[in-house]
Symmetry: C2
Subunit: 219 residues, 2 copies
Amino acid sequence: MQFSTSEENHIKAIYHLQHTGDVVTTNEVAGRLQTKAASVTDMLKKLKNKGLLNYEPYQGFTLSKEGKKLALNIVRKHRLWEYFLVNHLQFGWDEVHEIAEELEHINSPLLIEKLDAFLQFPRFDPHGDPIPDSNGKMEISKQVNLTDLDTDLKAEVSAVGSQSSELLELLRHKKIAIGTILKVVKKFGFDNSIEIKVEKNAPFTISQQLAQTLFVKPL
Amino acid sequence: MQFSTSEENHIKAIYHLQHTGDVVTTNEVAGRLQTKAASVTDMLKKLKNKGLLNYEPYQGFTLSKEGKKLALNIVRKHRLWEYFLVNHLQFGWDEVHEIAEELEHINSPLLIEKLDAFLQFPRFDPHGDPIPDSNGKMEISKQVNLTDLDTDLKAEVSAVGSQSSELLELLRHKKIAIGTILKVVKKFGFDNSIEIKVEKNAPFTISQQLAQTLFVKPL
DNA sequence: AAAATAATTTAGATTTGTCTAAAATAATAT
DNA sequence: ATATTATTTTAGACAAATCTAAATTATTTT
C-alpha cells in the first residue's frame, strides 16, 4: 500500500512519541506536527481504517504492527539520507534534518537498498541514532554525541560521524578509534573544546568540531 | 516563490513540448501528463497568475522568462539525480527516470549545489542530455549514445556515462578517450555489440554495455 | 461560407488535507 | 460528588487538484 506524505508524517510523529510514554495523545501529535488537534483526529480515523493504528476515540492510540513497520521504514530512509548528506555531500550534521524530512518520502525500495549499499550499511546516523535495517531491526544501545557526554562518565567510542580521510588521519594521530574507552575531564564553554582522558594516558583537549563527529556509548 | 509538485510537472511538460513546435497546446500537455484537458486549463490559469506562462485562452501558450528559469532548474535537478543514481548507486540508465521524477521536486538549492560538486559538475546525464548549470546554461550540441549513432557517420566521443575505475581502465586499454574520433562500422543484432573504427586503426568490436556508456557528437 | 468536427474552456462536483467553532468526554479540583 | 477545566471529537467550511459534462471557440471539410 502507498501512503501520502501527510500520513507518513503522522505515523512518524506517533512512532517518536511512543518512545517516551506508552500511549500517544492527540495534542502531542498536533504539537509535534504544528497542526490542530481536530486535524489530527481526522487523520487518526484514516490511519485506523488503513490498519496502521490501534485507536479508540478519547482513549489515546498506538501504532499497530503494520504502523510500526511503516514508521521504521521512514526512519530508516531519513537516517540513511542524513548519513549521505553529511558523509558524502559535506553537510554539517546540524543542517541535514530539513532536507532529510523531504527525502524520506521518496518512494523506491530499490533506491534505499542501493543507497544503503553505497553507504556501506551504516548503523548510526550523524546524530548517533541507530539506522533500522530493511527488516526494521536496529541497535538498541543508544549512543550519544561526545559533546553531550557527562563529565567523568566512562564511555566507549562507538561511531564516527564521517569517513573523511582528514578525520581519519586526525583520529589516528590522537589514537582514538572505535572501541577506545575515554571520559570527559572538562568542558570549556569559550570554544566548546573538551578535555578528554583516554585510558591511562595524560588528558588532552579536542576541538568542538572533532567532538561533534564522535559518538560514544556510556558504560 | 515555492511551487507544488503538480505545478512543477506542468511547467516541465510545457518546457519539453516547446522544444518541438513553438506554441504548446492544452491537449499536448494533457497527453504528456496523463490527465484531462480541463485539468490542464485550470492549471494554466494558475501558472499564468504566478507569472510563469504567456497564455491567452484558446491561443496556446509558452513559458515566460520566469517559467523557463523554473523549468531549467527542474531539468537540472532531474538530470543531476539521474547521474548520481547511475554513476554512484549502480542503477542502469534505463531504470532511473521514475525515481528522478520524484527526486527532482526536493526543494533545497544548497542540496543541489553540493550534489553537483560531489558529482564533479557533470555536463551530460546518463542518457546524453545536457545538464543545465545553476544559471540555466547548458551545452547546445546534443550528443547521442553510441548505440544510436548511424553506421559510417564520423563522431567525436564527448562524454562517458560513468566514472568507475573499471570503465576507465577498459577505455584506456581500448585507447578511447574524450575527443577520440570514431565511426560505427557494423552493428550486430545478436548481442548488440558494435564494431567501431578509431581514426586510422583497424576496426574492433565493443560490447553493448560499453557502447551504452559512451556518448558522441556527430561531426 | 456554412456545416461538421476538434480543441478548449467553463460550470459544477469530488477527494484530500486542513481549519474554526461547538459539542462531547475525560480529568482535576474543591 | 459535583463543578470546573482540559482534551478530544464532530460538524461544517475551505483550498488545491482533479474530474465529467456542457458550452464555447477554432479548425477543417465540403
